[in-house]
């Protein structure tokens, strides 16, 4: 992937395609960790992870709404849309890779990096990351497969330290293009919007995007729910940002209003790091013997996951009613997660979905 500063509509589309891919890229790691928790155990951690995963799906849908609003075409079935884990995030964060692994301290530490606040929001930590970031700007070769490769010669590649800053760049691009083009920027068919009538059971509402104000509101919701571009633990609606939700699991205590970052004073969070299926990290189909029932099960999962992405794509490409069915498909996938993760591989680890998706 190469992203360069947004100067035209095509550049805006590329950023929003990357945004959709980015939101999705967080979902397999979150769901692997979520469903690796043994059913019935760790209910608090389970609900924290589940709420975040559901909100990532909300963000994905909002990003698709914005892309549709500016005349783009969301497509979750393009080759390489689902990264092979371990993977870099598609917004050009190059100082860490994301693993698909069992619920563990290491997994939560990775999730903290995914959801980290914007640079400058965390004094004391920043200098290290800034140094790393500069190193990457100085010609460091990126390995991410992520977004469809498009390089624009003569433009410096963009790398973002956080998802919040990535969305800030999108917002600035939207404003710049809107100043040039006016409302012609929002040339998309409003019938493609997935509105609140198709969504349920998640913090924050789904909104149709039809103009600059609604596009900015959607970006604000994504940024504040996730990582925040400010240093607030709670957003303007009183909801705790993903970063701090995860941090509670490592610190073993809930945040409450008025707490300083890193020092939650709420009640204890009970976490049993051992009540977990020890799923293999970043599993691949090749980890399962060819012709085995386990291999078949893993392939069935990948097919079902690919079908889910295809259904979402139909919903985003003009059949919004398919969205309800796509969300229903997630419940079916949950059963497949458990069926796979209960299988011991004989080396102390258990099987896990591999997300090697091909669309036939």
């Amino acid at each position: 992937m190469s992203l360069t500063k947004i100067t035209d509509k095509a550049g805006l589309h590329r950023h929003l395609e990357a945004a959709i891919q980015l939101e999705h890229a967080t979902i397999p790691p979150y769901l692997n960790a979520l469903y690796s928790i043994r059913p019935g155990a760790n209910t608090e951690a389970f609900h924290i992870l589940r709420a975040v995963a559901v909100e990532e799906m909300l963000h994905l849908t909002l990003a698709a709404n914005i892309l549709n609003a500016v005349g783009g075409t969301p497509d979750l079935t393009v080759p390489g849309f689902v990264p092979l884990y371990p993977a870099y995030l598609p917004d050009g964060e190059t100082d860490f890779q994301v693993d698909c692994q069992a619920f563990s301290r290491a997994a939560i530490e990775t999730f903290l990096k995914i959801e980290r606040p914007a640079e400058g929001a965390t004094p004391g930590v920043d200098t290290i990351h800034k140094g790393r970031k500069r190193a990457h700007h100085n010609g460091h070769k990126r390995h991410g497969t992520a977004v469809r490769a498009r390089h624009v010669p003569g433009h410096e590649e963009e790398h973002f330290y956080s998802i919040g800053e990535f969305y800030q760049a999108i917002e600035e691009g939207l404003e710049r293009l809107h100043a040039e083009m006016g409302d012609a920027l929002f040339s998309g068919d409003p019938a493609r919007q997935i509105g609140p009538e198709y969504y349920y059971s998640a913090g924050g509402g789904l909104m149709a995007v039809t103009d600059l104000a609604s596009a900015k509101a959607a970006i604000r919701l994504i940024s504040e729910q996730g990582e925040g571009v400010t240093d607030n633990i709670f957003d303007y609606e009183g909801e705790i940002a993903h970063y701090y939700r995860f941090e509670q699991l490592l610190l073993g205590r809930y945040y409450q209003k008025g707490d300083a970052r890193g020092r939650p004073t709420g009640r204890e969070v009970a976490v049993d790091w051992d009540a977990v299926f020890p799923i293999k990290a970043n599993a691949r189909l090749s980890d399962f013997p060819e012709g085995s029932a386990l291999r078949q099960g893993a392939e069935d999962f990948n097919r079902a996951y690919g079908d889910f992405l295809a259904l979402l794509t139909r919903a985003f490409q003009g059949e919004p009613a398919m969205f309800v069915e796509a969300v229903g498909g997630m419940f079916q996938l949950k059963e497949l997660y458990y069926q796979i993760m209960r299988q011991p591989l004989g080396d102390g680890t258990h099987a896990a979905p591999t997300y090697e998706i091909s669309h036939g």
């Binding site: 059913p39 059971s201 069915e325 229903g328 997630m330 079916q332 059963e335 796979i340 299988q343």
Partner: protein
């Protein structure tokens, strides 16, 4: 008991018609083996698994022959047959049912041999649901509005 698990799964595949992968996917294999063994005793369980292994071996991969041998060596055996039938019941509905009176009189009674649900999730993980193409009532919700569509059941 861990050394009996593979044999138990092989027997269970033959008894239920589901793959070992699908059986393990219910998360109940260990619980069912432990329940049955705890009630009938390790001696009966080992004999059952040996008879099942013999049925497999003598059929040489021929499904029909395997079934016939299983009926001859296991299902029609006074001591092993009722236990095998109870194992089928556990896989399909998640409960252990008290063994028939003649079996208990002939082979010993266990205080644990009474009707009971094996684990909190054994009923919803029962094979009867994929077998009839439905989701367990009141469990495994399919999502808002999905009741308007045909049931979508995870592949068996």
């Amino acid at each position: 008991m861990a050394d009996m698990l593979d044999g138990f799964l092989a027997l269970s595949e033959a008894l239920t018609g589901f793959t070992g992968q699908r059986l393990r996917g219910t998360g109940q294999a260990e619980a069912y083996l432990a329940t049955a063994t705890g009630i009938v005793g390790e001696g009966v369980m080992r004999d059952l698994l040996l008879a099942a292994a013999e049925a497999r071996a003598s059929s040489g991969g021929d499904t029909e022959k395997h079934e016939a041998e299983l009926r001859r060596l296991v299902m029609s055996d006074d001591r092993l047959g009722p236990v095998a039938r109870n194992i089928i019941r556990m896989w399909y509905v998640g409960s252990w049912y008290q063994l028939p009176k003649p079996w208990r009189e002939a082979h010993g009674q266990s205080p644990r041999d009474h009707d009971h649900v094996v684990s909190p999730i054994s009923y919803t993980e029962g094979l009867l649901w994929p077998a009839i193409g439905a989701n367990p009532a009141g469990a495994k919700p399919a999502g808002y509005g999905m009741w308007a569509m045909p049931p979508r059941i995870a592949p068996g």
